[in-house]
Amino acid sequence: MNFKDKWRFVQQNLKKNRVRIFMTVLATAMGTTFLIVLASVGFGLHDTLLKDIMEQDNLNEVSIYGYENEKGEHQYITDQHIEHFESLNNVKTVRRMNYLGQAPNYQVDNFEATAETRSVYFPAEQQAGMALAEGTFPTQANQVVVGYHFADELIPQDVDYDDLYTDDEVRKEETLFSENIIGKTLTFDIEKFDENDDVETTTFEVEVVGIVEEPVQRGWDDSNVYITDMLLNEIAAFTGTHTGSPYPVDDIEDTPTEKSYDNVYLHTHTLEQVQDLTTQLTDEGYYTYSVATEMKQLNMLFTIAKAGLIFIGTIAILIASIGIYNTMTMAVTERAPDIGIMKAIGANPRTIKQIFLLESSYIGLLGALIGTAVAYLISFAVNLGLPLILEAVFEEELPEGFQFSSIPLRLLFVAVAICLIVTIISGSRPAKKATQIDVLQAMKREI
């Protein structure tokens, strides 16, 4: 008996009890929809978070924020460590940074701005991808580059803060620094306090030689001033502290006693090297952090979460499978006389089993397809409607590109496969029962 003929039998059988078949398909479709929609939340949130992480340009980066020596004591990262990092195989470059221990007030022409000042190693920054929107990198101690938004922070010295903005809270045109900052001289004071809290001030003058490119992350402002290590050393020589802090070392707890770095970032050649490097450095006693490691942990967490959601969804399909079992058992019972006749005239039990398995598989497949289509609609509606609802009810705006539900192709395959396997299993017992029907009993013949 070929497949076409078996399929014809299945169609004939399905037509005999349309309502029952419809209800069974409906239950299966609901189970499949539940599974897909439930798991799609896991996939959606995972995708959104991954997308967010991938948007950062520091995927190849391993951040080092300290060292624990053999005695278990915390140590700062010094030049000795930097040398070690630079000798490592997978390391492309080592960025190091120090925050100036005070936030100076920079003055240019009649404008001023208080900005965070960072001392960086420019060659490493360049290698790691730091680019300038305009100008060049500093080559001398009295040269600096400024962040993309630094000029926006400059305000006229003789204007009250209240007069800076219009009623719509937009900066007034005349208060903006409209000239090109490149080539301008910034003047700033560095303070130092002695033991008696008496302040001593010295003035530095630096030339702006470059503007850093706009940050790629959405909504990030860069109004920092980037100085060279040479300038930081000059400032430190005046303040007597490594970081240019105005207070004596002893006054501040946990201040490094030797030259060290606040932030150190190791850049690898490839993304794959990040994990190995992180593991190696952690084993050596460094405190490390990398987005790639976080991503791996995030992936693992979401994989477990998605598996859990699929498992819960499978329970819905298992419940639906009870309906299939019931429908198929009733079908076998109702068709027992027909099965008996078929067996009597020479139908192989295997053929009868295949017909019933085909029938339950068809119900499962139809349910899975309808369920998938409905799941797509629900997923679409949720992604469309949820931001609107959250905005209306909680007055919270979701981040751009936020996806609550996502149905990748692999989820579809998993759901349809689970549905088919469950329905075939639930249909296999009635199918076996059909093969065991006694011919004489079924035909009600007198023995």
């Binding site: 008996m1 070929n2 003929d5 004939q12 005999k16 027909d338 006749i341 078929m342 067996k343 009597a344 005239i345 020479g346 139908a347 192989n348 039990p349 295997r350 053929t351 011919v439 004489l440 035909m443 013949r445 007198e446 023995i447």
Partner: protein
């Protein structure tokens, strides 16, 4: 064609199978090719059990059944199903047609089970419908046909694969006397035209006369026409 040797059968009764009910006792006989053999006996004599054993619907307690040179005694259910499809046609007392299928579809069923292609099936089914005189009723469902017509559909289904043997269990049991006579004449004709071996079970002496030989069973013993003790 059919050889039965020392065939005995008992039914097992009771929840634990503690009671055995003997039905057939050491039956031995043979049916030659092209013969029409009637098996006669009263109700409960064991004649239907004999037919069910030959058909493979039940397995004998002891003895040997050989059909067309093949010892079928130890056949599995699947083996017997294939054997029935290829070697044996059945005519039942109450026709045993599938009510949801038309006359055409009922007749076509053995051809489908054998895996014959659609064009060939159509040709054979139409020829068989014509042979049994039902070419006017291909799309009628069994419920729309008379008893005689239903039995002709049943005969057509038995004939459609050209089996060498047809087993008939009370073939005229549900028919009036006029239809009965016509049907018996039709069986005789088939035997003459196609040289098909018929084994007919009946309790009716008139029907039994169609056979060239009559075997009689009484209380599970073959008392006439065989080699029973």
């Amino acid at each position: 064609m059919i050889t039965i040797k020392h065939l005995s059968h008992h039914f097992v009764m009771g929840k634990k199978g503690e009671t055995k009910l003997p039905v057939l006792h050491d039956l031995s006989f043979s049916v030659n090719k092209g013969e029409v053999v009637s098996i006669i006996g009263r109700s409960g004599s064991g004649k239907s059990t004999l037919l069910n054993l030959i058909s493979g619907f039940i397995h004998p307690t002891s003895g040997e059944i050989t059909i067309n040179g093949t010892d079928v005694t130890g056949f599995s259910e699947a083996e017997f199903a294939d054997f029935r499809l290829n070697q044996i046609g059945f005519i039942f007392q109450n026709f045993q047609l599938i009510p949801s299928m038309t006359a055409y579809q009922n007749i076509e069923l053995p051809l489908i089970l054998k895996g014959i292609n659609e064009n060939e099936r159509k040709k054979i089914t139409e020829q068989t419908l014509e042979r049994v005189g039902l070419s006017q009723y291909p799309n009628h469902y069994p419920g729309e046909l008379s008893g005689g017509q239903q039995q002709r559909v049943s005969i057509a289904r038995a004939l459609v694969l050209n089996p060498p043997i047809i087993l008939a269990d009370e073939p005229t049991g549900s028919l009036d006397s006029e239809t009965e006579a016509s049907l018996l004449e039709f069986i005789r004709q088939l035997n003459q035209d196609l040289n098909i071996t018929f084994l007919i079970i009946t309790h009716d002496q008139e029907v039994a006369r169609i056979g060239s030989r009559t075997l009689e069973i009484q209380d599970g013993h073959l008392i006439k026409g065989g080699n029973s003790r």
